[in-house]
Amino acid sequence: MYNVSQEQLETIDVVLKEDLLSIGVHCAIIIDVAGNTIAHLDNGLCSFDAVSFAALAAGNFAAVDAMAKLVGEQQFSLHFHRGENESIHFSKVNEDILLICIFGQDVSLGFLRLKTTEVIDKIRLIWGR
């Protein structure tokens, strides 16, 4: 069991808002590998079941991680699903937590990847090692 301070969570929210929502990401979620939601920020237009989403996302990430090991990779640190209107980008922050971005066609994947790299660095700093 672990515990994150209110200050940490608020700082994470600020980072998600300033670095991801600001470039047009529809929804940014931080979950742990057990499927718990740690932070969830959206542009006010997303209306899906975030709890189930987190459980499935954690399961999905864990499954792909297990596949990586089967083919001799340490891990696939990035997953990406492209949809017609919404795409999902998963990345690993550290052993415990994942960052998930849901974004539309107006956001360039390449740029999002740059941004998430930056955000992950910041979150690691906040989270502490």
């Binding site: 069991m1 672990y2 515990n3 994150v4 301070s5 209110q6 969570l9 608020e10 742990d32 590998v33 057990a34 499927g35 718990n36 939601t37 740690i38 079941d49 709890v51 189930s52 459980a55 499935l56 954690a58 399961g59 864990a62 499954a63 297990a66």
Partner: protein, 201 residues
């Protein structure tokens, strides 16, 4: 691993139903979901195969209310019971806070119960968890088959097989009829919350 969100004042707890295939894990969740559907505001998610077998997991989030100002959010998972899915079972056990082991009372399933419990101990070890330390409840399921000509194990036999060393609380129940389903769940949540208690005060 349970998660305390200080900002939202909530505690997220992961409880996994584990046990041999066709033992009634999903049925336990189904019963809870149906019985308390007005109180459980979210929906149950199942990833299934043909023929209604669990492929990955079932997932049912239940918000039970507040303790010391913290919202207690329980997340119920089942593992797929079929032998071939052990990799998946390991994944679902990641971050588990409490376990309900659903064993099958049928005589012919005796071996499966033993194997499943043994494997669960190993799987927990891969996550650095000790079966003797994690909150755990046993459920001896399918008592509704009694008197239907199907050979069943006695409670003593079950205890001998599964609980001799563990010495954890157990319930004889029927997931299908709902006997002791709620009691099992209440017990495991209560045990898990006790181990969280210090964090909540």
């Amino acid at each position: 691993m349970g998660f305390i969100n200080v900002k939202k004042k909530e505690v997220q707890i992961k409880i996994v139903y584990y046990g041999p295939g066709r033992g009634g894990k999903t049925t336990n969740l189904d019963y809870i979901n149906k019985k308390y559907k007005q109180r459980i505001k979210t929906e149950m998610v199942s990833i299934k195969t043909h023929g209604d077998r669990t492929l990955f997991f079932d997932f049912l989030p239940v918000d039970i209310g507040k303790i010391h100002g913290f919202d207690i959010k329980i997340q119920l998972y089942t593992v797929p019971g079929q032998v071939k899915y052990n990799a998946t079972r390991k994944l679902v056990l990641k971050g588990v806070d409490g376990i309900v082991f659903v064993a099958d009372l049928q005589k012919e399933r005796r071996d499966s119960n033993l194997k499943s419990l043994e494997q669960m101990k190993e799987n927990l070890l891969t996550h650095n968890k000790d079966v003797f330390k994690i909150p755990l409840v046993l459920q001896y399921n399918k008592i509704d088959l009694k008197g239907q000509g199907i050979p069943l194990l006695t409670v003593e036999e079950m205890e001998q097989d599964l609980n001799q060393e563990l010495k954890v609380p157990f319930f004889v129940g029927s997931a299908l009829a709902g006997d002791n389903v709620v009691e099992t769940l209440k017990k495991i949540i209560s045990m898990t919350l006790i181990s969280f208690r210090k964090e909540l005060q």
